[in-house]
């Protein structure tokens, strides 16, 4: 009986998987096809039909609505967050691994604490802080807390990674007179390059996709980032759904392109150092 169930499950598995694949891929097909339709075509059922008249007009409309500005804002925010979070976390992990002192261990626990406390809980205080230091409505208001809240998981992953480096290697370099920065650059960085790139990409994607911080900490169109822009488009183009879909497609394009060319690396990064 049990084996019969197992055998049925095994035969059924490819079909269930196919069901998920359709469910996963259909929305992607839907946004791309819709973004290439005229408004008249969009109103004609069924929603998954090819456009009668293919058009790039929606992309033009989106690009003319300041999209490039929002895009470059997002590039700047996500790149800065990725680099800063990785650099700062590497310093922490290095300190934790290289010292047995209580100060360092205590500091590490602060990151474990930050790992458990969700950023969403602190947004009100972040808002008042940003106001009081005059950073409200600037890109820095988004960048700084994004870096901070990316640090706990990055520190934890890096610490694990650096613990695998034999202490004798550090000692040998130190005896030869190498300072910490030299050791970081010539030993730690090369050995942990994979983790560094992976976590950098993970934090980049997190920053690229973030909505809550920009929603609370900015308001002007000049400092709009992509998730805010795409959301704003749904209000601006209420009746022009194909244009909204063009905006959604463009906002996801970098990651889609990266996925096509470096699927393994992207999936590794998305796992965020877990497993």
């Amino acid at each position: 009986m049990k084996e019969a169930v197992a055998s049925v499950m095994r035969k059924l598995a490819p079909f269930l998987v196919l069901g998920w694949v359709v469910l996963a891929a259909f929305p992607v097909y839907y946004i791309v096809v819709t973004s290439l339709k005229t408004q008249a075509d969009y109103l004609k059922p069924p929603p998954w039909a090819f456009p009668e008249k293919w058009t790039l007009e929606n992309y033009r409309a989106v690009l003319e609505s300041g999209f490039l500005r929002y895009f470059s804002n997002s590039v700047w925010v996500a790149t800065t967050v990725a680099i800063a979070s990785v650099a700062l976390s590497l310093l922490v992990a290095y300190g934790v691994v290289r010292s047995s002192s209580r100060v360092f261990r205590g500091g590490f626990y602060l990151f474990i604490l930050g790992f458990a406390i969700p950023a969403q809980a602190t947004v009100i205080s972040l808002y008042t802080l940003a106001r009081s230091v005059g950073l409200y409505d600037t890109l820095w208001a988004i960048i700084l807390p994004l870096v901070g809240f990316a640090m706990p998981v990055t520190v934890i992953v890096f610490s694990n990674f650096l613990r695998e480096i034999p202490p004798a290697l550090f000692e040998a370099m130190a005896i030869e007179g190498a300072g910490h920065l030299t050791i970081l650059r010539h030993l730690v960085l090369p050995l942990s390059l994979r983790a560094v790139l992976s976590m950098g990409l993970f934090n980049f994607i997190g920053a690229w996709n973030a909505l809550l911080f920009p929603l609370i900490l900015t308001q002007s169109p000049e400092v709009r980032v992509l998730p805010m822009a795409v959301w704003a488009f749904t209000g601006e183009f209420t009746i022009n759904v194909p244009a909204v879909m063009a905006a959604v497609t463009l906002s996801a394009l970098p990651l889609i392109v990266a996925y096509v060319f470096a699927r393994r690396e992207i999936l590794n990064a998305l796992r965020g150092g877990l497993v």
């Binding site: 946004i31 700062l88 310093l91 922490v92 500091g107 947004v123 910490h180 909505l211 998730p227 906002s251």
Partner: protein, 287 residues
């Protein structure tokens, strides 16, 4: 090793990121806690009111409702995501042309932000122009009406995050030594027994990690809810993060909103301790 206890250079290198972290993360956490003792509309002066905000939490039915929404949402997300991700993960961990090709498409939802996911499904589920019309049992249904909105959000969330948990299970399953299955098979164990007595027990750490991420993730879910329903209709999909946003930024009830935030922080901390601290799974892996 010991020389580093009195190593000013190392201490300096360590204090820079710690200071940064203190200002951007620890300070807002403390600030949230502090604000919870004040009455404040965000513009005028603050008034110290002690524990009055915390007392109000106990009597506020919107708060207990938001807590219930968070709980139901988390449970629904877990029940949908865990079995599907477990199955897909095991399936994609094995070789084969169909498996590899299917995997390429199966992970597509990962490439979209919550904002994008929310917008895509908002239009796909549109009662007039969306796809539901073509699925006879669902024809005429408004998935974002008061009775269905929460279920819809849980399903869309699952759509978004199943691939992530699939990745976790896939990697974990690949780490199980193949010899175990060969040995079990020589002993006459069938696939059913192998699954329950080898696969599941060995995947247990991953199940706990994945569940932890689902629980804390769903508890703090904001972006997708905000895009799709803004917590509505009424309060039907207002979980704790959405509630604190509404309090602070729509009702100018900043002090009380911070109290909800502080409660959320404590809740997440407690749950993390329960799920991770005690089982020691992340402890073994991460410290």
């Amino acid at each position: 090793m010991m020389r580093s206890t009195r190593d000013p250079g190392l201490l300096l290198l360590y204090s820079i990121p710690l200071l940064f972290y203190g200002l951007t993360v620890l300070l807002p956490i403390l600030g949230t806690l502090l604000l919870s003792f004040y009455r404040w509309d965000g513009i005028g002066g603050r008034e110290w009111i002690g524990l009055a905000n915390w007392g109000q939490l106990l009597r506020d039915e919107h708060f207990s409702h938001a807590l219930k929404i968070s709980f139901v949402f988390t449970l629904a997300a877990w029940v949908v995501q865990t079995p599907v991700a477990l199955g897909l993960g095991i399936y994609f961990a094995q070789r084969g042309l169909f498996r590899q090709t299917a995997a390429v498409f199966a992970f597509l939802p990962l490439l979209f932000s919550s904002t994008a996911v929310g917008i895509i499904w908002l239009y796909m589920l549109d009662p007039n122009l969306g796809i539901l019309y073509y699925i006879p049992p669902l024809r005429g249904l408004n998935p974002l009406s008061e009775s269905f909105a929460l279920a819809t959000l849980a399903l869309v969330t699952s759509w978004q995050y199943i691939p992530f948990h699939t990745l976790l299970y896939q990697a974990a399953y690949q780490g199980i030594p193949h010899e175990l299955y060969e040995a079990a098979s020589l002993d006459g164990a069938g696939e059913w027994d192998a699954f329950w007595h080898i696969t599941l027990p060995l995947l247990r750490p991953t199940i706990i990690t994945s569940s932890f991420i689902i629980v804390v993730g769903s508890l703090t879910y904001f972006d997708l809810i905000w895009v799709m329903t803004q917590g509505g209709p009424g309060y039907a999909t207002t979980n704790l993060p959405v509630y604190l946003y509404r309090l602070a930024f729509q009702s100018q009830n900043v002090g009380y909103g911070a109290t909800v935030g502080a409660f959320l922080a404590l809740l997440a901390l407690g749950l993390s301790w329960l799920l991770v601290g005690r089982s020691g799974v992340l402890g073994r892996r991460w410290s």
